[in-house]
Amino acid sequence: MLRYDSTSSSAGSSSGSLSSSSSSSKPPQQDIDGLLAGAGYKVRSSELRQVAQRLERLETAMGNSPADFSQLASDAILYNPSDLACWVDSLLTEFAEPPPTCSSDFIVDPVNNQTVVNSSWTAAEPHTPQVHQNITYDEQQSLDNQLTVVTAMEEDSGIRLVHMLMTCAECVQSGDLSLATSLIDDMQGLLTHVNTVCGIGKVAGHFIDALSRRIFQGMGGGSVNGGSAFENEILYHHFYEACPYLKFAHFTANQAILEAFDGHDCVHVVDFNLMHGLQWPALIQALALRPGGPPLLRLTGIGPPSPDGRDSLREIGLRLAELARSVNVRFAFRGVAASRLEDVKPWMLQVNPKEAVAVNSIMQLHRLLGCEQTRNSPIDTVLSWIRGLNPKIMTVVEQEANHNQPGFLDRFTEALYYYSTMFDSLEACRIQPEKALAEIYIQREIGNV
């Protein structure tokens, strides 16, 4: 069987001589394989292996239905063939079996007016000798079923979109809302020329929506979070499952906490945002296995008050208590309901002076950075009472992006970089609906910026 040598591809790749964009957006073009560019194909070197794998899958799929595929080819929606990755994906969608659907699985994406299908389907291809078989068909986004073939040059449109986004953000910052509005219209038009299933088109679409919401809500700062806390929880949960970032953060934080608690018999963890408490089972189990036996663990979980009378904090606490009991860890839980972190007072946490305290903040501190630089800004308030707790350790996880600058344009630029990367990384996610919902979660975050 002919295999490709994935290590030697770097010998052939170099920056293609493509028109370089002078905007400050992250230029994906630098990574384009120069040799394939000479042959008329734009593929990122970092994506080559993925494209190769997808080509193999396509070959398997075509092998399964040889009589139909030339007919299917005529009906396939084929985007810019220079973008090999997207072209192969379009064909894969055509040849893959349609997913089983039921009405409760449709989730309407309010931002894009697209319907995201819950495609939790299993591998369908039978065995053929040439292709290795551990691949499951599960990652394709649904495409609109138009029978048009899009022939526009996507590359140039992508660059133009980024330029226009930056200009529009500048207008918003300087208050020129009429120009901003017309730019939004132009960008919507451009979007139709661009593949919005992947790449810059998709990210640009979200940013355009977020920008237009901001414009039409007037200049207000602060959170534009339209969803309920419950919705947010669901999105958060799926985001957690889709990406490795949070799991990794939890793992690392727990490790640090474990080490800090070494030698202490009474330990107290303060979690700034309990959510589903996904971080703590691992810590409880690790403490259970500690040489010398587990300490008494107290967990104080802070979270927003539940809207409908449910005490979600308590429910999570109960579940964690169950787990702790099952591994013989003495455990006590306290929930503190507060809609804003700066409303929490230290006495609510009931910290015992003899305890070893760990303060754990996952993506909470950046919310405290407001536009006002007053004397007692929220971040100062919170940091000072944390100091008052005299913790053994404080674990902080934040996004690596400067999303809180006072200047809107700066925030916008940072966000564009950051979320483009996030979306790109999400492309690697293979599980649905986690991936789709994770994207909605990110969209909300974009809206917040």
């Binding site: 069987m1 002919l2 295999r3 490709y4 040598d5 994935s6 030697s8 591809s9 010998a11 052939g12 790749s13 394989d33 040799l35 394939l36 000479g38 042959a39 008329g40 194909y41 593929v43 080559l48 292996r49 494209v51 190769a52 080509l55 193999e56 396509l58 070959e59 075509m62 009589a67 595929f69 030339s70 080819a73 005529s74 084929l78 063939p81 220079s82 090999l84 072209w87 192969v88 064909l91 040439q130 073939v149 022939t151």
Partner: protein
Amino acid sequence: MVVPLNTWVLISSFKLAYNLLRRPDGTFNRHLAEFLDRKVPANLNPVDGVFSFDVLIDRATGLLCRIYRPATAEEPEPNIVELEKPVVGDVVPVIIFFHGGSFAHSSANSAIYDTLCRRLVGICKAVVVSVNYRRAPENRYPCAYDDGWTAFKWVNSRSWLQSRKDSKVHIYLAGDSSGGNIAHHVAARAVESGIDVLGNILLNPMFGGQERTESEKRLDGKYFVTLRDRDWYWRAFLPEGENRDHPACNPFGPNGRSLEGIKFPKSLVVVAGLDLIQDWQLAYVEGLRKAGKEVKLLYMEQATIGFYLLPNNNHFHTVMDEISEFVSSDC
């Protein structure tokens, strides 16, 4: 067996695209083929020392050629009226190139062939004329050969392509896959008409025959190419009702003709060791030898089809060096 990742991606995507284009009933989805083919325009601005322009050679058939010339030091940016300025040099090789594609795919302005022709200009210090011959199945045998012959006569009659030494055009014929096949047949017709061809360069030339050879059976489906698709292309090109022992497909086969006593040019034949039709290509070389013709065989054991499209492997560089030497040995 391992090829570089980007080569694998390129050839595989061709293979899959071509699968979509060939219909079981023998027709070809030309519309989709043209959409998928990556093309580049001619460029009067020299890129890496080479500029190109397109010429309509035969109005009746719409035959186009793309001409590649080296940019000179005095004329770094050619003026549009000076495209056909006489070549400068005692001996200037002119390579007439026939692109591949199994007689059905690609064009002279396909990106991969534009790249290859530009490279040939550089390594051979030659003018390259790439012929946009009519393709199957819409245009069967002998259209491609007729177009090749038309282009040949046109090139031969251009005074601006004449070398100073003898006021003659120094012509080489070159091609890959089906282009190699065309080069052979055009050369045969040229020498019959008394016009000299200085050399043939055949890269993985497309030949075949009715019999199933050992290499075809052994390598069927293993390296991007299947026997089934080879058969499809021959059925699309050859006259209806003819089989693969037709002399176009099998020039030294049962219906072929020996070249003994004919002033056939020297040949450089490149055969890829992983090409399933290599037995036919080797038989072609053998046929030339038996007829007493000068032929150099370059057998690249580990090479697959299309290895000459990307400069990321040793076979590529070996072959380019040999071509350069083959062409320059007349200077």
